[in-house]
Symmetry: C2
């Protein structure tokens, strides 16, 4: 079978399965999630045998230690997958929710009903746990899923998919509601990105290279963020203790995450007070500092930042620092360099905080809080499929709601238009 024919078959099956998923009951979906969790634990040995195949092949291919670690399905990770699915089962079912149902002067009642999107394509890299996490969220939102994981995790992903499919069938849902693409041919991704008739939205999860390719090639809407160049701005009216706590946490709580601060902006009038305090804390953690001219004058530890630094997502213990005149200049800097992911102001000034909240055009805008809070769990979404920096459809952390749509419903009693 050609790749094109294979993908067409997968797409057609997914579209057909999405009809059954859209009308699956809450009980059915929750029971499927619980059953899959049980099966992942019961089949632990089989999962780990499949995972061993991937790890052995990865070692033979010379994958680096970090990649091999991401690939490994140890007991703890299998347990986490199962817990994640049970947590999704415990979330309220978004499907069928009716809102804003109001009578109109014509006598009809008009409202909105939340419905599933249809078929979601997930393209991800080496972590096999994404197979269960992503499929579980899509399942709860009443969608069918087509999964394309990294070739280095193919056996692990297939083993997880078998558990998922058995769980679906156990509750009378079609096993084709979750399909893993079983070929490692890269052309399959190209096909997936063009299957407008069969796929409603694509969610890429992985590094910048993957996201860029998907964005370039997709003819289907994509939920994604490319970069996380997040800022904290310490205003001249900031409480210095809060400023130091937030700026330290936003950089050092974790380095490799998209909501980590990459650039610190500091108001000129407080720079001499706050920057040395922060520099001492950063030094203790081994964070390298790259600053503007004023920053370098204030901090002997800082190296000069280049234009490139303001545009860089380090994902590492490196921080760029710029001293700005005021909130206006901070907002202009953010407009120019932010990836519109998450930006935060530290201030006690009401009007400055309001201006920052209204004028900074990012998916999350914060006052007196660490950028590290930008996360579906912290926001109370229960789980997240990813974080979107696009403005269309879903913005910021995307949970179950972002995997749904709303249709209008009209209730009449033989009403006709005059």
């Amino acid at each position: 079978m050609t790749i094109q024919a294979l993908m067409q078959q997968i797409g057609t099956q997914a579209r057909a399965a999405s009809v059954a998923m859209a009308k699956a009951t809450t009980a059915q979906k929750n029971q499927a999630l619980e059953t899959i969790a049980d099966m992942l634990l019961a089949d632990k040995a089989a999962l780990q045998t499949a995972n061993e195949q991937d790890l052995t092949a990865g070692q033979a291919k010379g994958l680096d230690a970090a990649l091999l670690d991401r690939l490994a399905l140890n007991d703890h990770r299998i347990q986490s997958m199962a817990e994640g699915l049970r947590q999704i089962a415990s979330l309220p079912d978004p499907i069928g929710e009716i809102t804003d149902l109001r009578y109109r002067p014509s006598g009809i009642q008009v409202g909105r009903m939340r419905v599933s999107l249809g078929v979601i394509g997930i393209i991800y890299e080496s972590r096999p746990n994404v197979t269960a996490d992503a499929a579980g969220l899509c399942l709860k939102a009443g969608n069918a899923t087509i999964l394309r994981g990294g070739s280095e995790a193919i056996h692990s992903n297939q083993a997880i998919a078998r558990c998922i499919q058995q769980g679906l069938e156990a509750v009378g849902l079609p096993h084709t509601a979750v399909q893993v693409i079983e070929t490692t041919d890269r052309a399959a991704v190209g096909e997936l990105l063009r299957m407008k008739q069969c796929v409603d939205v694509i969610v890429p999860r992985g590094g910048k290279g993957l996201i860029e390719r998907v964005t370039q090639e997709a003819q289907i809407p994509v939920i994604k963020h490319l970069d996380g160049i997040c800022h904290v701005y310490i205003d001249d009216k900031a409480d210095i203790d809060k400023a130091v706590a937030v700026a330290f946490n936003a950089k050092t709580q974790r380095y490799g995450t998209c909501n980590t601060m990459e650039t610190l902006l500091v108001a000129r009038s407080v720079a001499a007070e706050v920057l040395p305090l922060l520099a001492a804390q950063y030094a203790a953690e081994g964070v390298e500092l790259r600053g503007c001219e004023t920053t370098c004058q204030l901090l002997s530890a800082a190296q000069p930042a280049s234009e490139e630094d303001w545009m860089t997502e380090y994902l590492a213990p490196v921080l760029s620092i710029r001293v700005v005149d005021d909130v206006d200049q901070a907002i202009v800097h953010i407009r120019q360099y932010s990836s519109q992911h998450t930006d935060s102001i530290v201030t006690e000034d009401w009007s400055c905080a309001q201006r920052f909240l209204h004028e900074v055009d990012s998916s999350s805008v914060m006052v007196n809080a660490s950028t590290r809070f930008a996360d579906g769990f912290e926001y109370g979404l229960g789980a997240e499929i990813g974080i979107s920096t696009d403005k269309i459809h879903a913005r910021g952390p995307v949970g179950l709601e972002g995997l749904t749509s709303q249709k209008f419903i009209v209730l009449g009693d033989g009403h006709i238009r005059q």
Copy 2:
């Protein structure tokens, strides 16, 4: 200047203007709308002189009477444009609305703030009033607009745009917030559809040819519907009086609109009762009937329908009719042939109505109401930029809200992530 350079200039100006529009106050935007309305009325003579140029050129080019009629800016239409703008001014401002602001266990407050999308590209055909209607809606939603009308309306559109730009400047907003593309070169549309950096969403308004071209070429999200193949299903538990009223109104209240019924589905057990009643009414209006075999047996006036008929948006006094076994077969027919615009069931049966509401995957799903109600005004949106049959972002009639997005806001007091 090349077309590419021209479009780049327009796009860059629009992006810059969108920053000012996003923070424009409600009073400023409403005052701009009122001022533009005043100017359209004050400049009526100039508008009509410009319109005469288009009409004369159109006659010379041999445009047909219907097209020339759509092009004409008579007193009534100028009055309507002005009233439309005042009505938009009277709608609540969606921008800045904060919802779902809740405390999280970590102590932060998380909510959502409604914000403008940025830059909207509108591509439309011969009706110059779209210039004012579309620009007005985008303006109220805090967006900048790039308008590309039909070449046959170029002078009229430019004259309307001048009024809009004067209205913007009168309240201190940039005149570049509403720009009309002044070249009639078709390459300009191609450029517009690819300007990802400068344009956030494209709204095409016009015939199927236009929508198809835009959908094919756009690298930017598009809010659109291609077809309006709408169904009414008369269930075996329908109240016959309501069924006749709804099915007659849905077809004949207006023929050329996208929410007009194009196919009538009737349950077998009531077909012999309801179809002759309807056929008599349709005959009085001169509606041509094309039916399935059973329909043709019941109605001497009906011609046999071909497979093609179920897929056709007639936009004319023509109706296809199919007798189906039950609600299941009706839903299957709709799944196969509906354009997912608007579909309605007529029934007194609670469970059938619920099933139809939940299982029919169209942008509007109705019970005991005419499909002709699918409209932003009838739904209480105040106005509409169009109707979307897509599932992503906006679905069904799109009013001000569809021209906005939501960002997350986080309010803390020095909160850090543990």
